[in-house]
Amino acid sequence: MSLLDHLPILPVVLPLVVGTLLLALRNAPLALQRGVSVAATLALLPLALALVQATGDGSHLVYKLGNWEAPYGIVLVADRLAAWMLLTTALLALFALLYALNAPSDGTSSQSTKPASGQVAGYPQPSPQMGEGANAGPTPTYDRDGRHFHVLFQLQLFGLNGAFLTGDLFNLFVFFEILLLASYGLLLHGGGRQRVKAGLHYVVINLVGSTLFLFAVGTLYGVTGTLNMADLAVKLAATPPENAALVQSAALLLFGVFALKAALLPLTLWLPAAYAHTSAPVAALFAIMTKVGAYSILRVYSLIADERSGPLVGLLDAWLMPAALATLAFGMLGTLASVTLRQQVAYLVVASIGSLLVAFGLGSADALAAGLYYLPHTTFATAALFLLADSIARGRGDLGDRFESGPAMPRARLVGGLFFAAAIAAAGLPPLSGFLGKVMLLQAALESPHLAWVWGVVLATGLAGVIALARSGSLLFYRTHGAHNTVLEAPTNAALAPVVALLALIVGLVVAAGPLSAHAAAIAAQITAPQGYIDAVLGGAR
């Protein structure tokens, strides 16, 4: 076997090995740890690109672990959708990591003497309990606010990549647990009162979600005797009628779990607090986390509830679309009501998952293509806003990112310009890719019975998003008054560079809109014809 045959497992193994290595290197010089972490994250890019290339012709790369035949052994499956998600993750992770290395943080563990800038209202200085001076560098950065940032970051990528590549429902659970456990660590990284409180809610609700996931998986196994997703699709299509109700309840339970991960209303309330109170690079990386839930919905239900006669056909029709529209509306109402910029961006994440699942709920190939084109766009846009919100909060001294007018921040033109670009992207205005994604979505909805609802909600929330972001932009950058009574901290170039890079990716999505939307259409075509996936996984066995 050549190395190419092992391509599907490399994006899973690499972060695992590097994460473990970094654990062993925990006492090594910080520069070495950072170098290893960045190199490994950078290496995910060519791997993801190679997978996009290899799956571009519509083939499925099936990797059988231990060479066990498919329904009995564990498989990893790389298809166009998985490669697309891997590429999005790799790009996002790289810039989030660069931000964590280079941007100045509040230095919670090195106890800098600066005021608690960049922290939201009612967010006191953390108690000086974590070894003072243990890693008091010259400028505190996010990766030294606590221990093991790089280990957790790599394990997070391990979980994410594994979840995108696995072809087995139980392994999906395992990778979910890995990415969640790493995310618990990252979410709480640096500590602090609000962060611990939001983190506790996040952990508990996700533990309940994991329990429900296991109940659903157990029920499906009890009925069908398999957990391989392709085999499950075949077995479920042939479910005898007396088991139909059992299978349907298991599938809906599973949908509930994925909806929780995706933060679909009414399971969305954990998200704003958790995302608004964690550190900026972690919040930026978490922009992909809700998309894992959306990916799982697409992957699992395209397989087990496809066109063939089975008890699950059309199961989600009654649930997905109304919940997605409600989530979109709720998210945008949240952005209007937010009192801090980070909270507003967290609600934008909620709204974006709403738009994405509207596309997935429409279910046609055109709608899926629109959603898949929109997915990297919204991930990069919200991540850029999270990173930028951090710079803005630090540049405004004690005001932080609260929506209160105050003295003009240093380098206001540059930061304001970046905010303007990111806000245009997030609100879905032309000329950036959010607009194209929404146009594709609205076009795809033309033939849907939900036409009036989709158009009404998407357009109304688009307007609400523009109003909310315009209001925050004018409050933060135009309505300035008063003199500086403290020396305000200018955002460094190193902190702004990842934001610029993410915005450049969004511009790239516009410039290459033709080929990329064609690729998104190809992904959608592959997803809507799951027989290819099933044949590739089960091979000649059937």
Partner: protein, 114 residues
């Protein structure tokens, strides 16, 4: 036997859900633990209850018990054990940071009276 196991799973789950909905972190952690016990039992019996038969098919055996749920439940136990340890530490940390053990982090009337 099936009825007994089903009853046990049901009672464990009900107790777990009740405790997880309480307002203080310690009952919540206990509730999560009970729920994970319930789901482990549930996974285990999804391979059907078989008594006194080997887990791997042999020529001589009349039947066999499904080994896969046992592997699944082992994985689930390890994961839930790790998660429980984590959530206990987190609950202690929240107690230290927030000054009380309520999940919403606020002082409540009954604490002041007590």
């Amino acid at each position: 036997m099936e009825a007994l196991i089903a009853l046990v799973i049901g009672v464990l789950t009900a107790g777990g859900v009740f405790l997880a909905l309480r307002g203080q972190t310690f009952p919540v952690v206990l509730g999560l633990t009970l729920m994970s016990y319930a789901v482990n039992l549930f996974l285990f019996v999804m391979g059907r209850l078989a008594i006194g038969v080997p887990p791997v098919i042999s020529e001589a055996a009349a039947g066999y018990t499904d080994p896969l749920p046992q592997a699944l439940v082992l994985t689930a136990i390890v994961i839930s054990f790790g998660m429980t340890a984590f959530v206990i530490v987190l609950a202690l940390k929240a107690r230290a940071e927030l000054g009380n053990d309520h999940v919403d982090g606020l002082e409540h009337e009954e604490d002041r009276r007590a």
